[in-house]
Symmetry: C2
Subunit: 337 residues, 2 copies
């Protein structure tokens, strides 16, 4: 049986070309369920060639940040900084957050650990329960969490951030997947030492645009802005971001549609004896002893999912639209025979 190199399959989702090379006989196009990206993206006007032909105007970036602040429930737009994706944002943090050690509520998205380790900061994995007792200079928590969808309620998180702040301790909340459950967001709370990361690409289904945001105290935002310079994002990110964050109707409809699609996926998985142990309406995490067999069998049907090196019984499956769900259903049906 063909197999995909562990590096490719385990490192991140979205490595379709590597998958296609490992499974050359799989039907194309591939169905990419290896990420938690909305498969039905927002659509609207893109940047014109005339916008590509000039430097992004800082005044226009400020416009985008003001609009995004409105969408996040942030009163003061000086608290919002646009970055070339949430990933670019989290990698800026070690340069502006003082203190020594970092506690990361784990298991979670691996790049938080990567970013702090590259900055030579000692990093420890903690459980959510231990997080509430943690005295590390920096606490990182992804909410809702990736890959298991674990939710930390807003009130509890605000308490935690406030208590930590009184001792000068930082709390970083990665809300990359919060757009589908906005009631969890703490972005609107102006707490000192609280930093919130937001992603555009996942909920809006446009990760290729590279757009994300950091929400923090204005003095922190100023330092981050100086660090990344005047032109962090592309003309396309500005044009698409500004229009999409103003589109409340699409946002509401999309939240409802994603919920429906996630329930349809749950039903299909349950019918095939696959236990969903968590997720958000953008992805589900299943637990099964036969992950490697299932992963490779789906690859042979041109369906890429996301296994984890350090959790061999877990598989993350992006929530597909109807056509994708039908293809996944046929593939799972084929496995029975």
């Amino acid at each position: 049986m063909a197999s995909m190199s562990p590096v490719g399959a385990y490192r991140h989702g979205g490595r379709l070309r590597e998958a296609a090379a490992a499974f050359p006989h799989a039907p194309t196009p591939w169905l990419d369920l290896s990420t938690g990206i909305n498969p039905e993206p927002w659509r609207g006007p893109r940047a014109a060639w005339s916008d590509l032909a000039r430097l992004p105007d800082p005044a226009e970036i400020a416009d985008l940040e003001r609009i995004a602040a409105g969408a996040f429930g942030v009163d003061d737009p000086r608290r919002v900084l646009a970055t070339a994706g949430a990933e670019a944002g989290l990698r800026l943090l070690p340069a502006v957050i003082g203190g020594a050690d970092v506690a990361i509520v784990s298991p979670t998205y691996s790049c938080h650990e990567t970013a702090w380790r590259l900055a030579a900061r000692p990093v420890a994995a903690v459980s959510l329960e231990a997080a509430f007792e943690a005295v590390a200079s920096v606490l990182v928590i992804v909410n809702p969490n990736n890959p298991d969808g674990r939710r930390t309620e807003r009130a509890a998180l605000l308490d935690l951030a406030m208590i930590r702040s009184r001792s000068g301790l930082w709390t970083v909340v990665d809300e990359s997947f919060v757009e589908a459950s906005p009631e969890l967001s703490v972005a609107g709370a102006a707490i000192e030492h609280l930093i919130v990361l937001r992603s555009f690409g996942k909920f809006y289904g446009l990760p290729g645009v590279r757009l994300g945001f950091i929400v923090a105290e204005p003095v922190v935002i100023e330092r981050l802005q100086a660090l990344q310079g005047d032109w962090p994002i592309s003309a396309d990110a500005m044009a698409i971001g500004r229009a999409a964050y103003l589109d409340e109707t699409w946002r509401g409809q999309t939240r409802e549609r994603l919920e429906r699609d996630a329930h349809a996926l749950d039903k299909l998985l349950a019918a095939h004896g696959l236990t969903v142990i968590g997720g958000t309406s953008l992805f589900r995490l299943i637990s099964t002893p036969s992950v490697s067999v299932l992963f490779e069998a789906l690859c042979e049907q041109g369906i890429l999912t996301r296994p984890f090196q350090d959790a061999e019984d877990r598989l993350r499956i992006g929530v597909p639209r109807e056509a994708g769900l039908a293809r996944l259903a046929a593939a799972l049906e084929g496995l029975k025979s």
Copy 2:
């Protein structure tokens, strides 16, 4: 007379919205000659919506880097890293270049100093002559230089980089404007401790795409890549960059056309008694005692140029195409009366 805030006019070129607010009666659209960006951009296919709707595939970024390496005359594509603009690239350097002090051949583009100071490194301005004697851990040289177009010949720069490398000293060559004078480039030289920065936006006329490159030893590139993560650039940057760097015909024709346009600008400026003291075929630097009068008078005609806070007798003027040149000619003619 209306006036543009010093922050806006002095900080960078391209702040058109601020200029338009300061000179509300200026004819529109503005002619932006405040940058050194080719006013006739490369055109070709952009990323499709389906590319925006997925994460940039690392294999495709590697393709772009291989193609760019070819265009830069770099044999080993592992020596090339794509970044979201040359600006994003230079800001990554302090994290991977060891040593203490930094010497910057000055006057030059101000963000080099900004980036190293933000990383708490002591920075000194040095002359080009002093650069050849400098023992600073890091030497930064922009070639050709911005804003004066000063050229350092390739052979001299290679000697300098090699001598410094023997003592473990780093040389950073910012070749953001080299595309129009490729004979100056040292990107193809595999010298330890030599780092070259390249910009896509200026010569190709598409700064809104946000694309640049770092050329360095593979071991340095690996560290930089780990720092910036797997998705540094947008789908548009990949699509446009790959096609543009393969377009040798356009590159050759554009070099010739830029030369012609620069000579036409020189002729116009000379006819109005304005002395060109340097430049590249993307911009010219003039010296005149009446910079502030000239700058504001051009603003009133809707033409934005670039003054400098620390050199009050200098004005940088982007090289316009025919229509822009005619408009500049009319504005200069109007100043006489």
